[in-house]
């Protein structure tokens, strides 16, 4: 499909706008810089170990997630233990990211299956129905975080063929694997990265998610309920890679 058939009414719309404003359409925006830029100062006085402590405290106290700091070789055992903690009967499907950039989740397949779970990797085939259906049936979804944000206890995920959106969305329980070296003070630093990537001509992944804890609502009497349409609970596993 060509470009023009996907863009509708722009000229008419914008010319009505500039006519009302009594000026010509702009070809350049007016210069703009933020005068205060307070966002860069948040947590800037904290050392890396202090930031990690703040992160651990925030996620435990405010997000109600379980959190573990482990060495990479402990990953398979830690993931299995987390699954068993949340599903002691060891029944159900565990859905694993195929993304192996930081660690290969194949290591967890055997211990999980030995405990009684079934496992499957996210499928990057073009039939969307089946992978979504598997994710819908899964009890646990395990994904890698690109980054984690200290201030808000946030996980940053980027969608990819190897790690679809559904893994951290449809299963009841999410496990996020975070590299300690990927910790950033706040959303500011990640937005700066996105801005630079766009400036370098990159087409951003179709879905970038900032996830802070399991899904929640306060729509009934403003009482917080954890677990709505997204996952009901979450675990954070921090890999000591420094």
């Amino acid at each position: 499909m060509n470009t023009s058939s996907r863009l509708h009414n722009r000229e008419r719309f914008l010319s009505a706008l500039t006519t009302k404003l009594g000026r010509e359409p702009l070809t350049q925006p007016s210069p703009f810089t933020l005068t205060k830029a307070r966002q860069h100062n948040v947590l800037s006085d904290q050392t890396e170990p202090q930031q990690l402590d703040l992160f651990m405290t925030y996620i435990r106290e405010n997000l109600g997630v379980s959190a573990h700091r482990i060495q990479t070789q402990e990953l398979a055992q830690c993931l299995t233990d987390e699954c068993l903690t949340h599903y002691p009967c060891a029944q159900g499907l565990v859905l694993l990211s195929q993304d192996a950039r930081f660690a290969d989740l194949s290591c967890a397949v055997q211990p999980l299956q030995k405990s009684g779970f079934t496992t499957t990797f996210w499928q990057d085939d073009h039939d969307r129905a089946q992978p979504i259906q598997l994710a819908e049936q899964a009890k646990v979804g395990i994904v890698f975080a690109e980054h984690a944000l200290v201030e808000s206890g946030t996980i940053v995920l980027e969608s990819s063929a190897l790690q679809g959106r559904s893994i951290s969305l449809l299963p009841e329980h999410s496990i996020f694997i975070i590299r300690r070296s990927s910790l950033l003070p706040r959303i500011t630093q990640f937005c700066e990265q996105l801005h630079q990537r766009v400036q370098q001509g990159e087409r951003l992944p179709s879905c970038v998610n900032f996830i802070s804890g399991p899904s929640s609502t306060a729509d009934i009497e403003l009482i917080k309920v954890v677990g709505v349409h997204g996952p009901l609970s979450a675990s954070y596993v921090i890999l000591e890679d420094q």
Binding site: R6, L7, H8, N9, F13, L14, L17, L21, L26, P29, R38, Q39, V42, W122, D125, P131, I132, Q133, A135, E136, L149, E151, S152, S159, S160, A161, G164, R165, S166, L169, I187, C191, E192, L194, H195, R203, L204, S206, C207, V208, N209, F210, I211, S212, G213, P214, S215, S216, T217, A218, D219, I220, E221, L222, V226, G227, V228, H229, G230, P231
Partner: protein
């Protein structure tokens, strides 16, 4: 639901709602908590006023350069493989979305919470096509199945209902048998509409902020429903008010920070989802088709008017959470999908004075809303401006205009004013008995009804001031 949510008179709505003790208790307690959460979040991050200034500067810059950024945004959405429809009116927007739905032969649509789709009455348009529309935000869902009850808060639309009322609605409408425990009811709804997400042909969302530099849209949510609506259906349609964008991700950072802290008192909400075009060919889930509908619907008129600053609004509802009038009359009294101070300013602008001319009077001009607004909109001044226009265009009741004209005539003539206040002071001594006045003055009658008037000693202030003895002087 269109902008207008009620056909009864404003004062009648207020009288009815003020007798609803469940609503009043729910709103008061919710307002207190939301107010407290916001205040704490503002204090935690520090230098809040500077943050607000940044928010205001970003929003003003966007409004000044709106046509440039809309061009950049739409170019980038097209570049990413998406579709863009510029809609001048609500009807144009609805008609486009209907056409997309027809082309997809859609039977079911899942929606995440969006004020702008309420504004254009999209659900009704789609339902007329025989399409099943499911509101998936828990609050919106409660209202939808409760025979389309009107929302009472921009962020928490069902806040006027008690848990027992919600339990009854679920029991009557979707066969719920459980307790009034919010967690149990929420879990029931999760299971009840999960298949709707899986089976939906189209997901429709609003847009908290579009990012011009990349053609992305950002959704700020908590429940996970917006993620589901944009991950599972094959088509995603996002509808945005034309002013809801930022130039780059650097400004998105500041605006999202202000929105989350102001709306729910958190550094970030549960999900901030940044979507860029349809999914890549090699990805499995995510929409194959992405449509962005950019809506004017009166906004360009506002932009060219003295009310321009209202377009800075990021829909956080901090103004409603601090407003004493909102606290007492509740959101449904406004008779608009937009309630609270923002609703009182915006509804007459988008929906016309004919339907919303009473709203600028739902305000005591205490200006508390100005102080909490994360983008420093002078809400109280805008409300006053509305009143001025309403008075000048003779939309105010005739009795009020006659009284005001008489007052202005006397007030601008010092001698006449002097004798009038002396006469008034003497008359009030005779007429005011036990806080009540024997003669009713039409224009201020309702004002009287709720107040005890002070006893008068028959002397005007001016007379007393002129004749006071040295001992009275400081």
């Amino acid at each position: 639901m269109s902008m207008k949510t009620s056909s009864t008179q404003f004062k009648q709505r207020i009288r009815t709602n003020m007798q609803d003790s469940i609503m009043r208790e729910s709103v008061a307690s919710a307002q207190e908590r939301m107010f407290g959460n916001r205040a704490r979040a503002a204090e935690d991050i520090g230098h809040w006023d500077e943050w607000r200034q940044m928010g205001m500067d970003i929003r003003e810059h966007v409004l000044e350069n709106l046509d440039f950024y809309l061009t950049q945004l739409s170019d980038n959405v097209i570049e990413n493989g998406g579709h863009v429809f510029f809609a001048q009116t609500a009807e144009e927007a609805s008609a486009y979305i209907e056409r997309v739905a027809q082309a997809k032969n859609a039977k079911k649509v899942v929606k995440s919470k969006s004020m702008v789709t309420e504004e254009i009455d999209l659900n009704a348009a789609l339902e007329r096509q025989g399409i099943n529309v499911v509101e998936t935000d828990l609050g919106e869902y409660i209202l939808q199945i409760d025979d389309h009850d009107a929302p009472s808060h921009i962020v928490a639309p069902a806040i006027h209902k008690s848990r027992e009322q919600v339990q009854q609605i679920f029991k009557d409408k979707i066969g719920y048998q459980g307790s009034e425990n919010p967690a149990e009811m929420t879990r029931f709804v999760r299971d009840h509409i999960r298949q709707d997400f899986v089976n939906a042909d189209i997901g429709i969302t609003g847009c908290n902020f579009a990012v011009a530099e990349s053609g992305s849209i950002a959704l700020v949510t908590n429940e996970g429903n917006a993620r589901l609506a944009t991950a599972l259906p094959k088509t995603h349609i996002a509808v945005m008010g034309m002013e809801r964008l930022v130039p780059t991700f650097e400004e998105l950072d500041v605006m999202v920070t202000l929105l989350c802290r102001s709306a729910v008192g958190l550094p970030l909400t549960g999900y901030v989802t940044v979507l860029t075009g349809p999914k890549e060919a090699e990805q499995t889930d995510g929409p194959e088709e992405f449509h962005l509908v950019i809506l004017d619907n009166g906004r360009s008129d506002i932009l060219a008017s003295e009310f321009k600053s209202i377009l800075r609004c990021i829909r956080c509802a901090a103004c409603a959470n601090t407003c004493p009038a909102y606290r007492h009359i509740g959101g449904q009294s406004y008779g608009s999908i937009y309630s609270g101070p923002i609703g009182a300013v915006l509804s007459p602008l988008l929906g016309g004075y004919q339907d919303f001319q009473d709203l600028p009077y739902a305000c005591s001009l205490c200006t508390a809303c100005n102080d909490v607004c994360p983008v420093k909109i002078p809400l109280a001044e805008l409300l006053l401006k509305h009143r001025q226009i309403i008075a000048e265009s003779k939309l105010t009741p005739i009795k009020e205009r006659i009284t005001a004209t008489a007052f202005n005539f006397i007030n601008s003539r010092p001698t006449l004013w002097g004798s009038a206040v002396n006469m008034g002071a003497k008359a009030s001594k005779t007429l005011i008995k036990e806080g009540d006045m024997a003669i009713k003055i039409k224009a201020v009658e309702e004002w009287h009804e709720t107040r005890d008037l002070p006893e008068s000693d028959g002397e005007s202030f001016r007379h007393w001031f002129k004749h006071r003895t040295p001992s009275d002087k400081p």
